[in-house]
């Protein structure tokens, strides 16, 4: 972002204000483009991974090994009729995908893609991300309520309970990273993970390996993050076999595609945050001067977490709504609190 602003000033745009506005628009468009491409790639990955796990090939016909299948599907969605049920609450129905997507999209303002590639380098970046990502729940409740469909209503209510509950273990686990690196700024947090214990660097510098509590916290984060992103085994708001498609039952065409896009964007957010807070962000796992761009490392780590989420989706059954709450409040939240206290003591006692 800063680079973009400087570039515009360099080529002769005198006003700081207009340079900023222009760069913001360009960056926002780039993020949107990235998201669309990421969703295409992630859906393709999901289909291929699930296909091979299920003893079949997945898409094979459109393009090389079906690579263009998701593009074709997107075109189909664009061309589909946009249906609004007669008894739906029109305003909320139309607004819901917008609210949901905006909530997700806002996160990308402060989410780093690599060293220096960040929309707004906020010094409270992590706090901002946790705050705005909660907006998602409003979108889902709006969708569930406005569809005037009882199944959608169930989906909306489940989603509200789920996302609000799972914010807590997610937040507490991320807080551990904050305690260890003493910053809420994601860029600084990554820099702090360059060295770590005894200044060895590489993978030994990453937060999750610094102490046992952070190690547990990483797993708590991945589990709770999967729930935050509404992925199986925690996909209760959609719950295909119970609620048909949950809150999204009545949506079709592009509106539905926005929910879909938001789901994959959420997966990416969970993955990148996990990589940045626990897995050393764009730091190389091997100490020394091997030149690989930071963005590559970040993407490798994030895609590893995305892969785990896909893997879990095609392996596990879905848990029940009361078990979902039990898992959160009776297991994950206490473990997260225990970790938090543990890390506190560790940081006070540790000689490093």
């Amino acid at each position: 972002m800063q680079g973009l602003i400087q570039f515009f000033q360099h080529i002769g745009l005198a006003s700081q204000f207009w340079a900023t506005v222009l760069s913001t628009i360009i960056y926002a468009a780039a993020v949107f483009g990235f998201l669309a491409v990421f969703a295409l790639v992630a859906v393709y990955l999901e289909r291929k991974v699930s296909g091979h796990m299920q003893d079949r090939l997945g898409p094979m016909r459109v393009g090389w090994h079906g690579f263009l299948q998701t593009v074709a599907d997107t075109l189909k969605l664009l061309a589909k009729e946009d249906i609004i049920p007669r008894n739906a609450d029109r305003v909320l129905f139309i607004l819901a995908p917008v609210v949901l997507f905006v909530g997700t999209y806002l996160v990308f303002a402060a989410l780093p893609f690599g060293p220096g590639i960040i929309g707004a380098d906020l010094n409270i970046g992590l706090f901002y991300i946790i705050a705005v990502s909660s907006l998602v729940v409003i979108g889902i409740i709006m969708a569930g309520y406005s569809s005037n469909n009882k199944w959608s209503l169930y989906g909306g209510m489940r989603s509200a309970a789920q996302i609000v509950s799972y914010e807590i273990p997610v937040g507490l686990s991320l807080l551990i990273g904050v305690m260890m690196t003493e910053t809420l700024n994601l860029g600084v947090m990554v820099q702090a993970q360059e060295t770590g214990i005894a200044g060895l660097g590489g993978i030994l510098g990453w937060n999750f390996i610094q102490n046992p509590f952070a190690f547990i916290a990483f797993f708590v984060y991945v589990v709770a993050g999967t729930a935050e992103a509404n992925r199986t085994p925690f996909d209760l708001p959609e719950a295909e076999s119970e609620l048909v498609a949950g809150a999204f039952t009545e949506y079709s065409g592009m509106r539905w595609a926005f929910f879909f896009l938001a789901e994959y964007a959420n997966m990416w957010i969970v993955a990148v945050l996990g990589a940045v807070v626990f897995l050393g962000g764009w730091n190389s796992p091997i100490p020394g001067d091997i030149y690989v761009p930071g963005i590559v490392w970040l993407f490798v780590k994030a895609f590893a977490i995305v892969f785990v989420q896909i893997w879990a989706r095609w392996t596990f059954p879905r848990i029940r709504v009361d078990q979902l709450m039990t898992t959160c409040w009776k297991y994950l939240t206490p473990i997260a609190f225990f970790n938090l206290i543990g890390v506190g003591f560790w940081l006070m006692m540790s000689p490093f």
Binding site: S50, M53, Q54, D55, R56, K150, W151, Y154, T232, P233, D235, A239, E240, S241, E242, L243, V244, W314, T315, F316, P317, R318, I319, R320, V321, D322, Q323
Partner: protein
């Protein structure tokens, strides 16, 4: 706050719902997510099977029998053919009996594989479904090479079979069994012993022994409640008394007897037992022989009635045939196992969550073609 009131919500599940296994409609009364009563509404797939049967000659009923329980057509054919043969007092050749048992048991495996896979789908696991269909596909290939059809066979006829098994069938079936038997461990690893799966199904939707009996629940659903009753052993028809196999009964592993997990697991055990029966039948299959018994050109059973029951993958399949001495049945009544099994749903699915109703319905393993007929 005092003005706030809550009320029960009526929720319509189906006929177009992914988990009602066809066009079943369930009227649920729900209090939040808790279901207080379940009322099944039937008839969306009614095809007048019994009325059709009154206007067809006895052998001509078979294709209609096929279409009742479309996941277990062979077993239906077998049951109907035996019912008519018993009525007419016909003996069929030894070879026919063996081939019939092989097909009936292969069909039982195929049917239970669908039950296993779709039950996985009902609780949210997608992958077991495709694993199950991989093996089912091999069974359907065997059927296809025998009679050309993959779903509705019209293969087991009154007084024999439509034609003999093709060359290579026996070897291919052996190869299938070699492949299939180790796969059961894979199913158990993937689904049966999965922690989330156990949480979802163990101690859910208990069907006590006496309730099961009083509602006329039969088949794996009854055995899961701990009732050791299988017509193949206790009222042996065809040549089932010649094989060495065990009746699968519910086990006390993760939850009470008669819960969803047991109803599911009994089917897994039955697949193993069926594979055993197929293997023994293949070993003892008479090499030569005709596949048609000597039956009259026009089948005219004596005036009167006959009831015959056999063990279908879903339970006790009965055919009550009334004859007025003519070439068409006066009345055919089919005792549908899935219908009786479904009847118990209000009893066992009330006071569970919506998600559990889906699991309970899946564990009852219904086929709407047979319920509505």
């Amino acid at each position: 706050m005092r003005d706030l009131r809550t009320e029960e919500m009526t929720l319509n599940m189906g006929p177009q719902h992914p988990s009602t296994h066809g066009v079943l409609r369930l009227k649920l009364r729900t209090d939040g997510e808790v279901v207080t009563s379940v009322e099944p509404v039937l008839g969306y797939l009614h095809r007048c099977f019994e009325k059709h049967a009154e206007n067809l000659e006895y052998p001509g009923v078979i294709p209609f029998v096929d279409r009742c329980d479309y996941l277990a057509s062979m077993n239906n054919d077998h049951g109907y053919a035996l019912a008519v043969e018993q009525f007419l007092d016909i003996e069929v050749p030894e070879r026919v009996e063996y081939i019939r048992v092989i097909f009936a048991e292969l069909q039982r495996i195929a049917s239970h594989l669908v039950a296993f896979g779709t039950f996985g789908l009902d609780v949210g696991a997608f992958t077991p479904f495709l694993y199950a269909f991989r093996e089912r596909e091999m069974i359907l290939d065997l059927f296809e090479m025998t009679c050309g059809a993959r779903l509705l066979y019209n293969y087991i006829w009154v007084g024999g079979l439509s034609h003999d098994i093709p060359p290579g069938f026996v070897e291919k079936t052996y190869r299938f069994l070699e492949h299939f038997e180790p796969k059961i461990k894979e199913y158990n690893d993937l689904l049966t012993n999965n922690k989330i799966f156990i949480e979802r199904t163990a101690d859910v939707g208990m069907l006590p022994r006496d309730v099961a009996i009083s509602y006329g629940v039969t088949g794996p659903q009854l055995r899961a409640s701990g009732v050791d009753w299988d017509l193949r052993r206790d009222e042996p028809y065809s040549i089932y008394d010649r094989f060495d196999w065990k009746v699968a009964v519910g086990v006390d592993a993760y939850g009470e007897l008669g819960d969803c997990w047991n109803r599911y697991y009994v089917k897994i055990l039955e697949m193993q037992e069926s594979a055993k029966i197929v293997r023994q039948a293949l070993d003892n299959l008479p090499v030569e022989g005709d596949v048609h018994a000597a039956i009259p050109k026009k089948i005219r059973p004596p005036e009167g009635a006959n009831y015959f029951r056999s063990e279908n993958p879903r339970g006790e399949l009965g055919f009550y045939i009334v004859s007025d001495g003519g070439t068409t049945p006066f009345r055919v009544k089919m005792r549908s196992p899935a219908l009786s099994n479904l009847g118990v749903i209000d009893e066992i699915a009330s006071d569970w969550l919506v998600a559990d109703v889906v699991a309970i319905l899946g564990s009852l393993d219904i086929v709407l073609g047979e319920i509505d007929r």
